[in-house]
Amino acid sequence: MQIDPVVLFFLLGLAAGWAKSDLKLPSALYDTLSVFLLLAIGIKGGLELAKQPFLAILPQALLVLLMGFLIPLLAYPLLRWRLPQVDAASIAAHYGSVSVVTYAVGVAYLTRQGVSFESQTTLFLVLLEMPALVVGVVLARLGARQAAGDVTPSAGHGWGKLLHEVLLGKSMVLLLGGLAIGALAGPDGIKPLDRLYIDLFKPVLTLFLLEMGLVVAGKLGILRREGFFLVGIGVGLPLMLSWVGIGFGVLMGLSPGGVTMLAVLAASASYIAAPAAMRMAVPQANPALSLGAALGITFPFNLLVGIPLYHQFATAVTGG
């Protein structure tokens, strides 16, 4: 199993951060790169969408939404085993939502292996972003209501504000915006933009992963403190959830590559949209815990071990 070069950049960042190098990327670069990646993925998805009739993939889209609602409901009781309700709900939301960069590395992996997959997976990515966040907030609030006087009306946004937060969060806006631009402009309209949004996608991903390595290295402290439990969550949940993705993928009749991508989406945990939404909706939850698991453990685990593994699972199951 040869490592993808993009992952080497992540390891470089991780090593530099771990060794306390003074390497530091400007935060403006991080912001710029994430804007670029979200837009580029959205555009790619829009181009694919333009190719096929929307009604044809509607059943798949509904199944994907169902999966998005289901995952946090599955994860929550497991997490409740040792965590307070707000934290369990928040972590469940993180794992129900998705990581755009993990998706991108998954795409790079399959492309490198020469494995094809259904183009609508980008649409799935967009669809999975939000449902889990809604479920997570409901779970947290039901819990909090029982926990008596602890929750003043001011602890967390109301539903209206929350929906705004999620629907108009940076990731949704850029993914959906890119999708719309790609679909409206079509391949001919996007062609003059290919040099940036297509050709530079993978190279730019390397810089983003370098930064993510540094960020993850900064999370090693919380890992050391929270120890085994966090590692258990961060490795156990994605492994388990990948099978949910595989199940839904098979149900939809996807190709082995498509099943792999759905497993990757199910197993990945959000670290952009979810932290933003949960912080405002469920401020009682400890953000260090959810971000520690999602970004500190699951993200590197998926990059280094998970993606190839889910591909093997998917190949075995589909007999592909």
């Binding site: 990327l25 935060s27 991080y30 932290p275 933003a276 912080r279 401020p283 260090a288 971000l291």
Partner: protein, 100 residues
């Protein structure tokens, strides 16, 4: 030159709260404030500022003593329990008292 005493409230907190706080200021008819990007350490751990979810802002706001203190108290009650938040008050001398 005649100078006038006013109270400055300084608020250091998570960047995410900016919109909410500005809304609160508008409600209270506060007429001005200044914001700078910050990072730091406190009871809620380090805020590196290198990453979206994790940067502070520092807000400075000059007002009459009563207004500033009432504002600080509301903010403390509303956000103190669950958000990284430190506030302090101090006296400053301003040139145009009617502005604040």
């Amino acid at each position: 030159m005649q100078l006038h005493i006013r109270t400055m409230l300084t608020i250091v907190t998570e960047g995410r709260l900016e919109n909410d706080l500005v809304e609160l200021f508008e409600e209270r008819r506060i007429r001005g404030w200044t914001i700078v990007e910050a990072r730091g350490k406190g009871a809620h751990g380090e805020q590196h500022g290198s990453f979206d979810a994790n940067h502070n802002i520092q807000i400075e706001l000059i007002a009459e003593a009563a207004t500033a203190e009432a504002l600080a108290e509301t903010i403390q009650q509303r956000y103190g329990a669950h958000f990284a938040l430190v506030q302090w008050l101090s006296d400053v001398r301003v040139l145009r008292p009617q502005k604040f």
